[in-house]
C-alpha cells in the first residue's frame, strides 16, 4: 500500500501528460497561425484524419485481444477498388457499393481470424501475409489500373457507370455544418467505446487480451472473441476505405498505402492517453486528432513533409514513454499474439 503515492504521481503524468502535449500544440498553432484557429480548419482537420482514425479504431480493437492487424491499409485500399468496380464497371448504385465493400471488409477480417485463431499463425505474420494477398488480389481484379468514372475499357468501350452522388456524399457531404466523415468518426468512436467499456463483450475482449488462459478458465470463448475482433477490425478498415474512395472519386490503386502506419501509430498513442494502459476508443481518436493537428500546423508553418514525419515520431515516442515508462500499470498491448503479463 505504501507504493500508492508514487503510483499516484506517475499515474498523473501518464494520465495528463499526453493531453497537455496536445493542448500545448493546439495553443501554439492557434497563436502563431491565424488560419489555424477557425472552425473550418477544425472541421477540416477532423475530416482529413477520419479515415486514419477509423482504421486506428480497428487496430485498437485487434489490440484488445492481444493482437495486431497489419492488413488495415490493404483492406482500405481493397475497399476503394471494390467500390469503384461495383459502381463504374458493375453500374450499381452507391448503396450496393457500400454493402459490397463492407462484406469484403468482413471477409478479409474473417480470413485474418481463420489464420490467427484456427491456423494458429502469430498475428503479426498472419496479417502481414493477408496484407500482401489483399493488395495483390485487388490489383488482379482491376488489372492494375485505377478505375475512374466513364473510363475506356480494354475492349475500347466506355465503362457504364460513374461514382454516384450518394456515394460521394460519404466524404464530400455535410449534415448541417458537420462533414459526414467527422460524424462517422465520432459515432464509430462512441460505439466502440460503449462496446469496450459498457458491455460484457468489451470486458471479455480485454480479458482475452490480458490473459487468454485465465479468460478461458473463466468460461470466455476465447477463439470466438478473437475472431470477432478481427472481423470488426476488417469492417472498420473497409469503412475507412469507403471514405477514401468518396474523397478520391476514383478507384485509385495506390489508395490506402499510407494508412497502415498512421493507423497503428494512433492506436498505440491511444493506449497512453488518460493513462488507460490499454487500447481504447477515445484515446485512439485523440491520437488521430493530434496527428491531424501536427500535420496541419506544421504545414501552415511551412515545414516540409519530412519534418512532419519527424514530429509524428517524437509524439509517438513521448506517448510510448507515458504508457510504458511512467505508468506503473501493466500495459496490455504487444505487437504479437501474447499480451504482457
Amino acid at each position: 500500500m505504501s507504493a500508492r503515492v508514487t503510483t499516484a504521481v506517475s499515474a498523473g503524468v501518464a494520465r495528463w501528460g499526453f493531453i497537455a502535449v496536445t493542448v500545448l500544440l493546439i495553443a501554439f498553432f492557434a497563436t502563431t497561425e491565424p488560419s489555424f484557429r477557425t472552425l473550418d480548419n477544425a472541421l477540416g482537420m477532423l475530416k482529413f484524419i477520419a479515415p486514419t482514425a477509423i482504421a486506428g479504431l480497428g487496430v485498437a480493437l485487434a489490440m484488445t485481444v492481444g493482437g495486431i492487424d497489419l492488413s488495415v491499409g490493404a483492406s482500405a485500399g481493397f475497399a476503394v477498388s471494390i467500390a469503384a468496380w461495383t459502381m463504374v464497371i458493375g453500374n450499381q448504385v452507391g448503396g450496393v457499393a457500400i454493402a459490397t465493400v463492407l462484406l469484403g471488409g468482413a471477409i478479409i477480417g474473417a480470413v485474418n481470424a481463420l489464420l490467427v485463431v484456427v491456423a494458429k499463425i502469430p498475428d503479426l505474420l498472419a496479417t502481414l501475409t493477408t496484407m500482401f494477398v489483399v493488395v495483390g488480389l485487388k490489383l488482379i481484379l482491376v488489372n492494375g489500373q485505377s478505375i475512374s468514372s466513364r473510363m475506356t475499357l480494354p475492349d475500347g468501350s466506355t465503362a457504364p457507370g460513374v461514382f454516384t452522388a450518394d456515394f460521394l456524399w460519404l466524404d464530400r457531404g455535410r449534415i448541417g455544418p458537420i462533414p459526414v466523415p467527422v460524424i462517422l468518426f465520432l459515432v464509430l468512436t462512441a460505439l466502440l467505446w460503449f462496446v469496450l467499456e459498457h458491455t460484457r463483450w468489451g470486458r471479455a475482449l480485454y480479458a482475452v487480451g490480458a490473459n487468454p488462459e485465465a479468460a478461458r478458465l473463466a468460461g470466455i470463448r476465447v477463439r470466438t472473441y478473437r475472431a470477432a475482433a478481427y472481423i470488426g477490425c476488417g469492417l472498420l478498415a473497409s469503412i475507412a476505405g469507403l471514405l477514401l474512395a468518396a474523397r478520391i472519386g476514383q478507384g485509385d490503386v495506390s489508395a490506402g498505402n499510407s494508412l497502415l502506419l498512421d493507423a497503428v501509430a494512433v492506436a498505440l498513442v491511444g493506449v497512453s492517453v488518460l493513462g488507460a494502459g490499454k487500447p481504447n476508443a477515445w484515446g485512439t481518436a485523440l491520437g488521430a486528432v493530434l496527428v491531424a493537428v501536427m500535420i496541419t500546423g506544421f504545414t501552415m508553418l511551412g515545414l516540409p513533409y519530412y519534418a512532419q514525419d519527424f514530429g509524428k515520431g517524437i509524439v509517438l515516442l513521448v506517448a510510448l514513454l507515458f504508457s510504458f515508462t511512467f505508468s506503473r500499470r501493466r500495459v496490455a498491448v504487444t505487437a504479437g499474439s501474447t499480451a504482457s503479463q
Binding site: V21, N41, D252, N257, S258, G302
Partner: protein, 363 residues
C-alpha cells in the same frame, strides 16, 4: 518516493524535446519571410497586390519527390520570393486522398490564391470549383479539368513536346516507316501525347507494328520485358516512340539487349541527368527527346499567377513550350547534365514567357 524527481525530469525533458521542435519551426518560418521581403534587384516597382504585405499563396502538390518535382518546386519557390509571394507548400506524396484534404484545408485557410500542381480530375476538380466559388483565384498545372471556367490552366505543352520529337522521327526514318509505340493510357499527359502520335501516324502513313507499355512503381524496369517481347516479334521495326522518360529508358534497354541498336531508333520525352547519360552512352538508340526545364516551368507557373493577380494576364490558358533535344546536339556540345544543357539551350529557361518589367524570370 525516489521515483518522483526522476519522473519530473523525464517529463520535463519530453516537453523540452517537443518544444524544441516548435522553436525550430518558427525559426524556419521567419527566415522564409525575410527572403520573401527581398525583391529582385532588377525589377520595376511591382503593382498591387505585390507592393504591400506578402501575398499568401497555397501550393497544393500531388507529389514533390523525384528530380523533376524537386526542381519544379524550387523554381516556384524562387520566383515566389522574388515577387513577394509567401508560398505555403503541401505535398501529398502521391496520396490522392491527402491531395484532396490538402486542397480542402487550403481553401479553409482562405489564402490570396491557390496553385494546384497535378492531380486526378475526379478527385480535385470539384474542390477547384469550390475554391473558385469561394472567390479564391486558382491556377492549375498539368491537371485536366472538364470545366475550366474561372480557372487559369497551365501545362507544359505536351502537344509541342510530342510534335517536336515526332518531326525529328519523320525526318530520320521517313514516311511509311515501321514503328512501335510504348506508352500507357489513363494519364493526362500521356493521353495528350498519344493524340499527337496517332495524328502523326495517320498523316505520314506510318505502320504501327506494335503498341505496348505500362506505368508502374518501377516503370523503366517493368517495360523492358514488354518491349523485349515486341521486338522479338517485330525485329524489322525502325523507330520506337516512348513518350515518357521512364518508359523510354525501358525501351532503350530492350533494344540494347536484343542488339538492335543499329536498326532501331528510340524517341523519348522528358530529360534528366540520368536521361542525358543514357542518351550519350556509346551506341545508345535514344536519338531524340523533348524537354522542358522543370525549374523554369515551376517559376513560370508562379509568374502566371502573379500576372493574373495584378490583372495583367490576357489569356486563361498558358502552355509552356518544349525544346527538342537530339543525341547529336548533346554529343556535339559535350553536354553531360541538365545544367550544361540549360546553358547550351537558353530556350529552356522560358525567360520571355509570361513576364513583365516588374516580373522578370528568375533563372
Amino acid at each position: 518516493m525516489t521515483r518522483r524527481p526522476l519522473l519530473l525530469l523525464a517529463a520535463t525533458s519530453a516537453a523540452v524535446l517537443t518544444l524544441a521542435g516548435c522553436a525550430q519551426s518558427s525559426a524556419g518560418q521567419s527566415s522564409g519571410g525575410a527572403a520573401a521581403d527581398a525583391p529582385a534587384a532588377s525589377a520595376a516597382p511591382a503593382p498591387a497586390p505585390f507592393d504591400g504585405d506578402p501575398v499568401e499563396v497555397a501550393l497544393v502538390r500531388q507529389s514533390g519527390a523525384g528530380d523533376y518535382f524537386t526542381a519544379w518546386g524550387s523554381g516556384a519557390q524562387k520566383q515566389a520570393e522574388a515577387v513577394n509571394i509567401e508560398l505555403t507548400v503541401t505535398d501529398a506524396r502521391n496520396d490522392n486522398a491527402k491531395h484532396a484534404s490538402d486542397l480542402e484545408q487550403a481553401i479553409a485557410s482562405a489564402p490570396d490564391a491557390i496553385i494546384v500542381d497535378h492531380g486526378q480530375t475526379d478527385t480535385i476538380e470539384p474542390l477547384v470549383h469550390q475554391a473558385v466559388d469561394a472567390g479564391i483565384p486558382v491556377v492549375v498545372y498539368d491537371l485536366a479539368l472538364n470545366d475550366p471556367t474561372g480557372v487559369i490552366v497551365t501545362s507544359q505543352s505536351d502537344e509541342s513536346m510530342a510534335q517536336g520529337v515526332l518531326d525529328q522521327l519523320i525526318e530520320d526514318v521517313g514516311e511509311g516507316a515501321q514503328v512501335g509505340y510504348v506508352s500507357a493510357t489513363g494519364f493526362a499527359p500521356l493521353d495528350r501525347r498519344a493524340a499527337v502520335w496517332n495524328q502523326v501516324v495517320e498523316d505520314n502513313g506510318l505502320q504501327q507494328v506494335f503498341s505496348t507499355g505500362k506505368v508502374t512503381e518501377s516503370t523503366a524496369t517493368d517495360n523492358i520485358p514488354l518491349v523485349d517481347a515486341a521486338l522479338k516479334q517485330n525485329p524489322e521495326v525502325q523507330a520506337i516512340f516512348a513518350p515518357y522518360d521512364e518508359i523510354t529508358k525501358g525501351a532503350v534497354q530492350a533494344v540494347l539487349q536484343n542488339n538492335l541498336q543499329e536498326q532501331v531508333k528510340v524517341y523519348g520525352i522528358d530529360i534528366s541527368n540520368a536521361d542525358i547519360e543514357v542518351m550519350i552512352t556509346e551506341g545508345s538508340p535514344w536519338v531524340a527527346t523533348s524537354a522542358t526545364d522543370p525549374a523554369a516551368v515551376g517559376a513560370a507557373v508562379v509568374r502566371t499567377l502573379a500576372l493574373s493577380l495584378a490583372g495583367e494576364l490576357e489569356e486563361e490558358s498558358v502552355q509552356f513550350p518544349a525544346v527538342t533535344i537530339t543525341q547529336e546536339f548533346l554529343l556535339d556540345e559535350g553536354i553531360t547534365n541538365v545544367t550544361e544543357l540549360r546553358e547550351a539551350e537558353p530556350d529552356l529557361l522560358l525567360d520571355d514567357v509570361v513576364t513583365a518589367d516588374w516580373l522578370p524570370a528568375v533563372s
